[in-house]
């Protein structure tokens, strides 16, 4: 009898302690960096040359100079070839480098560069660049590179862009819901809406 009692006390104790740990356990969030695969691009585009810090030889071009759709569309977009040529026509110094030669080959053939997607989302997800840029860059005056970097990482130090963040649902929600309970009557929460249809389509 006592043995049984002892056993039950032990069991109850185990369950309670495990439960209390589970209740307060931190969610297994995947906010850590998660480097995506290396993507072979038709032209090895040096983001560091274009957007990098001046001290490191970069030109500090604003992200949205090229990714111009980010503030007015759900996708950030790739600039049309025309835009690359627009500058590079008059930059004689690099005109004969292999990458730029390739660029002009595309231009002369009037063929779009087949860039590959680096930040892909599943097809049932809708991510709106415009909303995030409008909020962070225009409403809160955050520096562009910081705002873009929330999701894209430190692109200005890369050559060909590579995914740095997990872009998984939990990772999105970690900003959208952390410390902010859902509200069934309004989408105006301080950290973004969180009903399913905001992102799932």
């Amino acid at each position: 009898m006592y043995c049984f009692l002892r056993l039950s006390v032990l069991l109850v104790g185990l369950i309670v302690s495990a439960g209390s740990y589970a209740v307060n356990a931190v969610q297994p969030l995947t906010t850590a960096d998660d480097l995506g695969p290396k993507v072979e691009q038709p032209i090895e585009f040096p983001h560091d040359r274009h957007a990098g810090d001046a001290a490191k030889g970069g030109m500090q071009i604003n992200c949205m100079y090229c990714h111009t759709y980010a503030r007015r569309s759900i996708v950030a977009g790739i600039p049309p070839l025309q835009k690359c040529i627009g500058c590079h026509q008059s930059i004689e110094s690099v005109r004969e480098t292999p990458r730029i030669k390739k660029l002009f080959e595309y231009w002369e053939a009037k063929k779009a560069v087949p860039w590959k997607k680096v930040h892909d989302l599943p097809d049932f997800v809708r991510f709106n660049h415009e909303r995030h840029i409008q909020r962070f860059v225009f409403a809160q005056n955050k520096p562009v590179q910081e705002a873009c970097g929330y999701c894209h990482g430190d692109v200005k130090t890369m050559t060909v862009a590579r995914r740095q963040k997990p872009l998984s649902m939990g990772w999105c929600v970690s900003c959208h819901q952390k410390d902010h309970p859902v509200d069934a009557t309004s989408t105006k929460t301080t950290h973004g809406p969180n009903d399913c249809w905001q992102c799932h389509k």
Partner: protein
Amino acid sequence: MSITNLLENWSDFRQQHPSEDRPHREYKWAMSIDLDACTGCNACSVACYAENNLPVVGKEKFAHGHSHHWIRIERYWDNDGREFADQGAQFLPMLCQQCESAPCETVCPVGATNHTADGLNSQVYNRCVGSRYCNANCPYKARYFNWYDYPTTDNVWPEPMNQQLNPDVTVRGKGVMEKCTFCVQRLTVAKSNARSEGRSVLDGEVQTACQQVCPTGAISFGNLVDPSAKVGKQWKQQQVDLNKDKQAKDVTESAAKLRGYRILEELRTYPSVMYLEQLRESAI
């Protein structure tokens, strides 16, 4: 989310009835359909196929009841045994009623169908496990299940017909439930545009595909919270209250001249679609 968070916000996870003290604050999408204007022409249904990537299932599957028409036109006769249907038919476009207290939401085991803050009944395809309990509990049977994998079925979207698919709407694979969304892809764009300009969506700024195509303008759609919205004025004029399960028309004699009603309201689903009764002239 941690369990603590779950417990603390328990009341928000529970599905709740609409009530006066918990109104929608910015948007409550609602519709009204004038059955006297509806001619039963099926344009809305075809427009829905075009907008929402609905599969054409073909004769055999249609015969088995596997059709997908998020908005279907029902045709009723009211003959009372007369020789001819001499007062015509009663056409009724039936779509998801986006109930405020939706029977489908409470029973979904995985929470794939939820109420949004806009008062929509959302369906998240990727969360759905296909238990079909939501359809079982839907009194309107306005939910449609993907009995087959239509994207890979012959002659549903053969090349190049797949190029017509709307990229804003997911193409559903087998085993998920789907239904009318009030064209949420359009609502999301309109809301986003409005927010960029620091305002709310204006009345008429966004139309559902069925509303946009309807040749007689039988369908109105808009935001019930917006006092200037046509649909809100219609609800008000017809004395149909979103949060009640009995309307003035059912209770008071003087309101008998009103046309607004909601279907199967006695089940307390609080639908977001108000219908206006069909009229017939008695002088002929």
